[in-house]
Symmetry: C2
DNA sequence: TTGTAATGTCTCAGATATGAGAAATTTAGA
DNA sequence: TCTAAATTTCTCATATCTGAGACATTACAA
């Protein structure tokens, strides 16, 4: 019987410590509200702002002091998600050049970004959103996610991907597995240390030739 | 280089024809509204009822004639999801006894249920929902999903699962892969015929020893 | 301790969502 | 074609959400 411990896995110590979100003691209020909004809107896009304020542990009045209106808050969410993904994925892209190694660390980066990754991906891939390169938000998204996509294409060109699987499927699968990792983390029924290990095992076995 | 066509795959012809949702010409209005609500609420839980009515191609007034209020509509959603999942998964459970075969067909059944599967799963597994066996909805959910979970346990007991992977992770992964399949279907960038093939390939390789 | 900036409380007006009555219109079947 | 049921249209009252002013309270740094 195969055992997961035999599988090569590049998780560094760093990832085991700061595993998911930054648990900083004192975030500045504006960022705290933005982070709360990302968590809430990811699950319930039309949730009342009161709900966001509660999650951020501030009054609705305070929220309105920082954000003109709902759209303003959403723009801040977008900026935070974009920046978090750009920074994490960009760092991996710059650090690793070998496609497989790069791909593995991109998965870990995506899991570290957590909801900021999955909500960002969801927003730009849902049926109502019409993605246009002219839109600043969309081009920001593309710049970051193209690093992801091109890494998958590199794997394919090197013949590392199971024949027949398409780039599009692999992208969807990655998003699905990141979501699984986030949900496992939230549910708390899978040991934290294992989540990335499991995610990489299932993803790599699931697509590599 | 491994090719996906070499992988054993039990998709029957039936699945290729009625692939995702039932595209019936004339659904009765109440069911049409309920289905629209499942699609909308899955993506935006607090979406206004106007949005649901639009999706169902009726007036908000008509919606209110069938459903007393939002909760009433939500109860109908729950009933439809429960019944769809119970029927599909129950049929697979009754038809196949060999765990691996059963598991594969359960994946196909879940993909066929589509949003009805993923929304149902999401509702009973999100952090706000406190799952209690006393609640009728929860026990309905458990009855159906325990068939899923016990199938995974059977695989594990037979030594078919990669050592170390937990039941909880596999459940999350299944939900993630079903979501990937649904999104691939919605995005339309993965050929319909391939979706189930890809999903089973990635899932089976991703967890089986 | 004191002053200032940030946040909370209370309040309100306008916007949007909700639920339903009444009558007109459409649809489907005899 | 005619009738009955279903749906739409228009309307309204109520509820909830939103954004902001005025002032009280708190936190913190000098």
């Amino acid at each position: 019987m195969e055992n997961i411990s035999q599988t090569k896995c590049l998780i560094s110590e760093k990832y085991d410590i700061v595993l998911f979100e930054n648990m900083e003691v004192m975030k500045d209020t504006k960022q705290k509200i933005t982070d709360a909004a990302i968590a809430i809107f990811n699950e319930d896009f039309s949730a009342p702002l009161e709900t966001v304020a509660e999650k951020a542990e501030v009054t609705r009045r305070t929220l309105h002091r920082y954000f003109k209106d709902r759209n303003d808050l959403l723009a801040a969410c977008h900026h935070t998600m974009q920046e978090s993904c750009r920074s994490s994925i960009g760092a991996v892209y710059a650090t690793y050049t070998e496609p497989l190694e790069r791909f593995e660390h991109m998965l870990y980066a995506a899991i570290d970004c957590g909801v900021k990754f999955s909500f960002f991906h969801k927003l730009h891939n849902n049926e109502h959103h019409n993605h246009s390169a002219g839109n600043k938000n969309c081009s920001d998204y593309d710049r970051t996610f193209n690093k992801f996509k091109s890494t998958i294409e590199d794997l394919q060109n090197k013949g590392l991907i199971t024949g027949g699987l398409t780039t599009e499927w692999i992208e969807m699968l990655c998003a699905g597995i990141v979501t699984a990792a986030i949900n496992a983390e939230k549910a708390g029924n899978v040991a934290r240390i294992n989540i990335k290990k499991f995610a990489w095992y299932s993803l790599s076995k699931g697509i590599l030739a």
